[in-house]
C-alpha cells in the first residue's frame, strides 16, 4: 500500500518542482511588492497573492489573459509538493525526526496562511469620545443597505455587497418581494457643485441642488477610501417604489414607504455588527515633554455585552490589543484633533496556527541540530 502511494506521489514530489515553485514565488513577490507602490497593499495582495493567476486585460475588450501564476497556485503546488515528498520518500528514522517535525511546521504554516487569507476579516471601528458603537466598517468594501425600520425595537437590514453593484444589474431581495435595479454606478466619485461640471452632458449623478457626484479614478492609496455613487431604483412586486441617486460620501439614509412599511436605503461602507457595544471613554496622544514627538497612543474603552453580562474597561495601546469574542481591537489611528480614535478590528479564526507552526519549526530545528551536535561531541570525546 505504501509502495503504491509512493509511486503515485513520486512525480509530484520532484525537487525540481520545488525549485521552480520557489523561483516563481521569488518573481511573484518581487513584482507584487514593486506594484504595491501603484496599487496599494490591499489590491496588491488580492491581485498577486490571493489569486490563482495574474491576468493581463486585453485593451478594448473584457477579456483577460493569464500570464503568470498567483500566490494560491504557487503556494498550493508547494504544499502538495512538500506533502508528496514526505509520502513518496517516507521512511521514519529517529535520525530524521527533527526534519519531519520542521516540515510539518512548514506545512501547517502554509495551511494557516491559506486559512488566514480565506477567513480573516479586517475592519475599522471609528469612535468619537463618549460614543458607543456595535459595528465596525470595512475600509475597502461598500454595501447598499435597505433597512426595514417598521418594527418598534429592531431594524432588519438587507445588505447587498459591492460585488453585486454593477451598472444595469437587477437584484432580487429575499424580503417583501423587493427588487433593486442599478443605473449608473461609479466605484469612486467626488462630490462637486453643479456649477463646477465641465459641461451639462458630463457624466454625473444629481444628489441635490448643491451637489452632484462625478466619477473619478479608483484610488489605491493607503489613507484614501473610494466613495461610490449609484443610481438606484427599488421595485416591489414589479411596481416602482422610488428611484434615488446615492453617494458613499453622503451616507445619510433616504426613507421610503413600500407595502405599508417604512424602509431606509443607504450606500455606505460595509458594516460588521457585533453582539456588544464598545464605547470610547478617552483617547490619549501623549508626547515627549517639550516636543511634538509621539510617545504613546491609547484608547480607554468600555466594553458592554448585555447577553454575557460583561461591562468592563480596557486600555488599548501599542502591542496591547483588546481581545473579545474572537475579535482583536488594535489601536490603528486617530482623527479630529485627537478626539476620535480608529481601532482596527481583526477577526482571524486561524490566528493561533502561525504560533504553533513556528514552535514546531523551532522544535524541529532544535531536535535536528541537537542530534548533530551530540553525535559530533560524542565523536570528539571518543577520538
Amino acid at each position: 500500500m505504501i509502495d503504491k502511494l509512493a509511486k503515485f506521489f513520486k512525480p509530484i514530489a520532484s525537487l525540481k518542482l520545488t525549485i521552480i515553485c520557489l523561483a516563481c514565488a521569488l518573481v511573484l513577490i518581487t513584482v507584487g511588492t514593486l506594484d504595491q507602490v501603484n496599487i496599494g497593499i490591499f489590491e496588491a495582495q488580492n491581485r498577486y497573492f490571493k489569486s490563482f493567476f495574474l491576468y493581463f486585460p486585453l485593451p478594448g475588450t473584457d477579456l483577460k489573459i493569464p500570464w503568470f501564476f498567483g500566490g494560491y497556485t504557487i503556494g498550493g503546488i508547494l504544499l502538495i509538493n512538500l506533502i508528496a515528498a514526505h509520502v513518496a520518500r517516507f521512511k521514519f528514522t529517529w535520525k530524521k525526526a527533527g526534519i519531519v517535525v520542521l516540515h510539518s511546521g512548514l506545512i501547517l504554516l502554509l495551511i494557516g496562511q491559506l486559512l488566514t487569507s480565506l477567513f480573516q476579516v479586517e475592519s475599522q471601528m471609528r469612535l468619537d469620545q463618549g460614543e458607543a458603537r456595535n459595528y465596525s466598517e470595512s475600509f475597502y468594501h461598500d454595501e447598499l443597505a435597505i433597512i426595514d425600520t417598521s418594527a418598534p425595537d429592531s431594524d432588519q437590514v438587507i445588505s447587498i455587497p459591492d460585488s453585486k453593484l454593477r451598472k444595469g444589474n437587477r437584484v432580487n431581495l429575499p424580503l417583501d418581494s423587493l427588487e433593486v435595479a442599478l443605473g449608473d454606478y461609479y466605484p469612486n466619485s467626488a462630490l462637486i457643485n453643479p456649477s463646477q461640471l465641465p459641461s451639462p452632458d458630463y457624466p454625473h449623478l444629481k444628489l441635490g441642488p448643491m451637489a452632484v457626484a462625478v466619477p473619478v479614478a479608483k484610488t489605491y492609496k493607503q489613507d484614501e477610501r473610494n466613495m461610490p455613487a449609484a443610481s438606484v431604483s427599488v421595485f416591489q412586486n414589479g411596481k416602482s417604489v422610488g428611484a434615488w441617486n446615492l453617494a458613499g460620501g453622503f451616507p445619510k439614509p433616504i426613507t421610503f414607504q413600500a407595502g405599508g412599511k417604512s424602509y431606509q436605503i443607504v450606500l455606505r461602507p460595509k458594516r460588521y455588527y457585533k453582539p456588544f457595544f464598545v464605547r470610547l471613554d478617552e483617547f490619549r496622544h501623549d508626547r515627549y515633554a517639550g516636543t511634538d514627538i509621539a510617545k504613546n497612543f491609547s484608547s480607554r474603552v468600555r466594553l458592554i455585552d448585555q447577553n454575557k453580562h460583561q461591562d468592563r474597561e480596557s486600555l488599548i495601546f501599542m502591542n496591547h490589543p483588546l481581545r473579545y469574542a474572537g475579535l482583536t481591537f488594535y489601536q490603528a489611528g486617530f482623527d479630529n484633533n485627537d478626539h476620535t480614535t480608529i481601532l482596527q478590528v481583526v477577526k482571524n479564526p486561524s490566528w493561533l496556527i502561525p504560533y504553533v507552526s513556528c514552535a514546531l519549526m523551532a522544535l524541529g530545528m532544535i531536535v535536528q541540530f541537537g542530534m548533530h551536535l551530540t553525535s559530533f561531541v560524542r565523536r570528539r570525546v571518543i577520538a
Binding site: I158, I293, D311, A332
Partner: protein, 238 residues
C-alpha cells in the same frame, strides 16, 4: 467535476449561513472535497446578500453596573443650534439638516438652510463665488475674495460671513447672507436668502443663529489652521 462544483455552488448560494457550514462540514469529511469546502465557505461572506436584525440605533443600552446608561449618538446629528424667535421650522429634505422660514410684513419671507459636506466641499472661494453667481455678481479671486468675507469670532468659534446682493438694475432684488463653519471633517453652510430689506431686519437673528452652533465632539477648526484634518495612522512619523 464542473457539474459537481456547480451543484455545490448552487446549494451553498441558497443555503442560509448555518446550513452552508453544515454542507461544508459534510463535504470536508471526504478529503478530496476539503479544498472545495474551504473555498465555498470563504466565498459566503463577501458575495452574498445578507439579511440580519439589529437593535435600533437610538435604543438605550443599560450599563451592567451603576445606573448610568449610554446612548449611541445618532451620527447624522453632530450639531446643535438655537432657533431664533419668529423662525418657523420647515420640513427637512435630503440635503438640508436644518430648514427655516422667517416671515415679515407685506408677505416678505426669507429662507434659511443648513447643509454640510465632507471635507472643505470645494473650498471657500468656489462656495462664495457660487453664492455670488446666484445674485448675479461676478466671481472674485485672491485678495478681492479676502475683502468679500468677514471673520466671525464669537463663542470661541471661527466662521466666515458673506453678505451679497444683486447689483442695482438687476431684475428681482435678492440678497444672500451666508456663513461657513468648518469642523474637523465637514464644512457647514448656513444660508439665508430673500428680499434685501427684510434680510437687513433679520441679520442680527441670523448672526445669533450662526453663533449658537455647537458641534458635538468635533470642535470647529480655526480657518488659519488650513485644510481640515485627514485621518492619521499611529504608524505615521509624527
Amino acid at each position: 467535476m464542473i457539474t459537481h462544483f456547480c451543484a455545490l455552488s448552487r446549494c451553498a448560494a441558497h443555503a442560509p449561513v448555518g446550513k452552508s457550514f453544515r454542507i461544508a462540514a459534510a463535504l470536508a469529511c471526504r478529503p478530496a472535497n476539503l479544498a472545495l469546502a474551504v473555498l465555498l465557505l470563504s466565498s459566503c461572506d463577501q458575495s452574498k446578500i445578507q439579511v440580519y436584525r439589529i437593535p435600533k440605533e437610538n435604543v438605550q443600552v443599560a450599563m451592567e453596573s451603576g445606573s448610568s446608561a449610554i446612548v449611541p449618538p445618532p451620527p447624522s446629528a453632530p450639531v446643535k443650534w438655537t432657533k431664533p424667535e419668529g423662525w418657523e421650522e420647515q420640513p427637512l429634505s435630503e440635503m438640508r439638516q436644518g430648514s427655516f422660514r422667517a416671515s415679515g410684513p407685506n408677505g416678505k419671507t426669507a429662507d434659511i438652510s443648513v447643509v454640510s459636506f465632507p471635507g472643505d466641499a470645494g473650498g471657500v472661494e468656489s462656495n462664495v463665488n457660487r453664492w455670488r453667481s446666484q445674485v448675479q455678481l461676478p466671481p472674485l479671486a485672491g485678495e478681492a475674495m479676502g475683502g468679500a468675507v468677514q471673520h466671525l469670532t464669537a463663542n470661541g468659534k471661527d466662521a466666515l460671513l458673506v453678505d451679497v446682493q444683486t447689483p442695482n438694475g438687476a431684475g428681482k432684488p435678492a440678497r444672500i447672507l451666508g456663513a461657513i463653519l468648518q469642523t474637523a471633517d465637514r464644512s457647514w453652510f448656513v444660508k439665508m436668502t430673500g428680499d434685501p430689506d427684510f434680510l437687513e431686519s433679520q441679520k442680527t437673528r441670523f448672526l445669533e443663529f450662526v453663533q449658537s452652533f455647537e458641534f458635538e465632539n468635533t470642535p470647529p477648526v480655526a480657518w488659519e489652521d488650513g485644510a481640515p484634518n485627514t485621518v492619521k495612522s499611529t504608524n505615521d512619523k509624527q
